[in-house]
């Protein structure tokens, strides 16, 4: 049998053997058997020297062709075998994907913190800066300088916790609103324009119920300058409401009363739960109160260090807990300060 015939026989045998191979190990054994340095083709190729010189080039080409052919066949088979092997591996590692994922230990911010940040961020973009003042205040700052003298009927609007003080000393109280911050902020800025937002804890002498807390947060805003109007107040609050509740939210401005603003206004937005048709949450009015506001009263401007004949400004206030309750459908304000993780872990 000629070398070429032997080569053809080896090729045929190799291809036949390759066809039956199903494992990676058998493949590498096959490779060394036929294509290795000591494999059948390599051994046979050593006999090329016995051929006539004129036959050698053709025979050499033939050897190369067979090698190329077998390499290609091997690569093909490898792909098939690898795929099958991977398939087996995958089958053995298959999971029940409906089982629960591995839990991560993540913490969450308090929902009031979240909403306070949302509110302050919106106003920050309008140029308001965050300003904070103390939670224990004097009667002067909490009431008198805000145009709420002692024995004024408006005091009924704020049930107050007082701190025990020695007889004759100035009255000290837990601030009932963040409004004393208006005076602090104005006094720090006057006569320059001021535009601040004042978030913080407030307290009311009030029996705790599902809707009322003795402690709560408030966000107050104030802007004072030489060119600030009631129309600017409207624009600012509408801008805020649209950011918080979505553009196109319907708003309603109605006259109200706060001793420290004149004119005073209450901003309502269309009830976000019923869309204005009336429900339990909006007491069937179709509207939700969002903010009390108004033009800073001339006396308060004066107390803040501004001449009311030259300067004007507006102020507004709102309750983040109420906004949070509406946003998440919370029906009992008492959870807010319970520290109960079954409550805290419900929010993002």
């Amino acid at each position: 049998m000629s070398i070429i015939d032997q080569l053809a026989a080896i090729e045929a045998a190799a291809l036949a053997a390759l066809h039956d191979i199903t494992t990676v190990d058998a493949l590498s054994a096959w490779k060394s058997e036929y294509l290795g340095k000591t494999g059948q083709i390599a051994k046979l190729s050593r006999e090329l020297g016995t051929l006539a010189a004129s036959d050698r080039p053709a025979a050499g080409q033939r050897f190369n062709a067979v090698r190329t052919n077998l390499d290609a066949a091997l690569a093909d088979r490898e792909t098939t075998v690898n795929a099958a092997a991977q398939g087996h591996a995958f089958a053995s590692e298959a999971l029940d994907v409906t089982l629960p994922g591995r839990p991560l230990t993540v913490g969450r911010l308090h929902p009031s913190t979240r909403v306070l940040r949302m509110i302050t961020d919106i106003f920050a973009e309008m140029g308001f800066q965050v300003w904070e003042s103390s939670e224990v205040e004097t009667d002067t700052l909490n009431f008198e300088l805000l145009n709420i003298p002692a024995d004024h009927p408006a005091r009924d609007m704020w049930d107050t916790f007082y701190i025990e003080t020695p007889p004759g000393a100035e009255k000290v109280l837990l601030r009932t609103h963040t409004s004393p911050g208006q005076i602090h902020a104005m006094r720090a800025h006057a006569p320059n324009p001021v535009r601040v937002i004042l978030p913080g804890k407030c307290f009311r002498y009030e029996q705790v119920s599902t809707r009322h807390e003795m402690m709560f947060h408030q966000v107050e805003g104030i802007a004072v300058g030489t060119n600030i109007t009631f129309s600017d107040l409207k624009g600012t609050l509408i801008g805020f409401a649209e950011r918080l509740y979505g553009s196109g939210i319907k708003t309603r401005f109605r006259p109200s009363y706060f001793p420290f603003t004149e004119p005073s206004v209450e901003l309502d937005v269309e009830c976000i739960l019923c869309g204005g048709t009336g429900c339990r949450i909006c007491k069937h009015s179709g509207w939700l109160e969002v903010s009390g506001a108004g033009m800073v009263h001339p006396d308060v401007l004066r107390n803040g260090g501004y001449d009311p004949a030259i300067y004007s400004g507006f102020a507004f206030g709102m309750g983040p807990e109420r906004i949070t309750m509406l946003r998440h459908g919370i029906d009992d304000i008492r959870w807010f300060f319970s520290g109960d993780e079954r409550f805290l872990q419900q929010f993002i």
Partner: protein
Amino acid sequence: MRIPLSWLRDYVDVTLPIDELAERLTRSGLEVDSIERYGIEGSELPWDRDLIVVCNIREVTQHPNADRLVLAEVEYAPGVFHTVVTGAPNIQQWKGLGPISTPVRAIYAKEGAVLYDGHVEGRVKVKLKGKPVRGVMSDAMLCSEKELGMSDEHEGILLLPDDAPIGVPLVDYLGDAVIDIDVLPNMARTLSIVGMAREIAALTGQTVRLPKPTVKTSGAAIDSNTKLTIEATTLCPRFTATLVRNVTIKPSPFWMQRRLTMAGQRPINNIVDISNYVMLELGTPNHTFDADQVAQNHIVVRTAKPGETLKTLDGRTHTLASDHLLVCDPTQALSVAGVMGGESSEVSPATTNVLVEAAVWEPTIIRRMSGAFKLRSEASKRFERGVDAEMLDLAQLRLTELLQTHADGTVAPGMLDVRIVAPRAVTITLTTHEVRRILGLDFTVDQIAALLAPLAFTCTAVDAHTLHVGVPSYRMDVSHTADLCEEVARMYGYDNLPSTIMADELPTQRTNLALEREHYVRDVLAAAGLNEAITYSLTSRTSAAKLNPAELESDDYLHLANPLSPEREYMRRDILPTLLESAAVNIRERGMTRLFEVGHVYHRRADAILPAEPLRVAIVVAGKRHATAWNAASADSIDFYDIKGIVELLCERLQLSGVSVAATELPHLQPGRSATLILTVGKESHVVGSFGELHPDARARFDIPAMRVAVAELNLELILAHASVPRYTSISRYPAASQDLAFIAPIAVSAQAIEASIRKYAGNALSSIELFDVYAGANLGDGVRSLAFRITLRSTERTLSDEEVTKLRAKIIRGVEHDNGAKIRS
């Protein structure tokens, strides 16, 4: 303020449907709380026009088969009669007397009428169906107030005035609505029917009609024998008195009782009802005295003498002080001015002559007295907010007219009138520029005048830009241009004003770095797996004593003068007690807790009336270290090193330098598992706070089951003040050389100290240190332990040679051994 629509209609034409009127009022600053409808369209129980009508009871006879029932022969349309079976007690008086000669008007409901069931609790609708009752067909009924939804009264049937027209649909005769309005303090002028009518007239383009009482006087004039002296001239701007003789005390007329009831007042008798009626109608609280109980017919208004007492109408005896204001006779106090009458001069069934007081008082004294005596009444509410002194003349006329008509009294000519303060005449100059400046909209003087005129402001144009605005006497809330701007805006409609973006100069922007860092602290702790809590700033010493029993007797707490409950009586000095109370709940519910709180505590200061309010962060963690699940088993529970890890993370993320930790003993922490965090700045060291495992005794006081509870409370202001921005260190492109070094050192030598030595001797080449093993065992000997560190050395400039690494290693070993009495473990 409850406004019966029928009463309102006496003084203004109501041109809008009720719902629209309510919306208009709400948008004008008079927030409508509720609308109650009686019988009219839209009410819960509409009275059918054809089936529920006014009737007359002509005769009452005994039911043939039932002792407690009667048969009433009624005329329910002129000349149309029907027999009704009823058990109403209030018509038994006519039983068996034959045809009744006087009118007895009642309310007749025919078969098919829908009414409330009078015999069951609450309001249950039933449709009237004919059925025999003890052998007599009953297919109609006479109605009680409850059955009509007018009140809960079901003692007898409702009897109407004699002139009620027979056959008229009840809805036309008694159908009504009550609008309940939340009146804000600056709207005191609307605390009356006439005041509300004025406002509605202005808002709807109508004209208000004031009552025009007619009084016929006779007998001796009041000033012939009655005297009035105002001694407390600063507290009583005006006082008027009239005299009505020979009154008859009896129930007030049906319509007055009905209106008072709808307005929320309980009818008493004609004199009391008339007094209340005029207060509600005109907004002028007033008082009636039994004139014969006023000694010497002399009224004196004065402040109280110290120790003087007065028994008021409610039966309470008050001891008075010199800042209390009284209406007196020369011998004794008769009433607390503007707040409540006294018993001695109260109008009684025996009263024949009535002295009628209508006065105005200085508002703050009324508020002080009503507060001091806990006597908040409809009268004091109005006086506190301001009563129009110019309304007193009309009020006296109306009072005497009603006493003449409904108490058969004879009105004495004249009125005693002492006026201390002249009528309020306020004129405000308002410019178009000012309106523009405040509201942001250009109005002409004519436009402004047109908006203000319906509210009875008198506007006189001085020039093209200036108005002189006269303020009506009852507008005590208006004294500034800002008040007028509000009225302009209100009449124009708040919703009609433009909304604009502020064009004013933007103030200088300043960064609130402390607040930004505080936000960051919350974010870091939440990212570390902790839930943010906010607990009460108000607490009790009992709660604080759970952490440290010494707190129970502490005087350092800010104390509320008027606490709501003993649990919330003091201002907290630390966050941990309230946070641990929350943690205890979580541990009992879930077996674990991971809480933090950032907030203020309150520390009394010797040199200031306001306390210091330091900002703190407190942390409580307990229970399993990792959440367990079917595929995440972990038996490890939280201990000291978890809280330390959190504290370290916080320090690292805030780039605090100069922090160290020292073992400490504190009452609330377990000895040996407690530490203080110290911040060294320059040569000064500050204690930032403490952390560790809660003392088992404290844990028990918080009612937490036996487990390790790790806590921390740190002074956040100190941390925030020394936080810094991370400095980038260049990342070396050269390979690192790791060296594992284990030192055997006495247990008293802290890991912190050894680590510090390593840093010192490794110098610039040090890339990182990791303590990877701590071991103590018999083979090492007593009182020592092995601390194994992996030290990574790396240069940013070149690859460190073996020789350099070896030299450095030797230097570190020598240094650590020398500084700490340690030995390298071979």
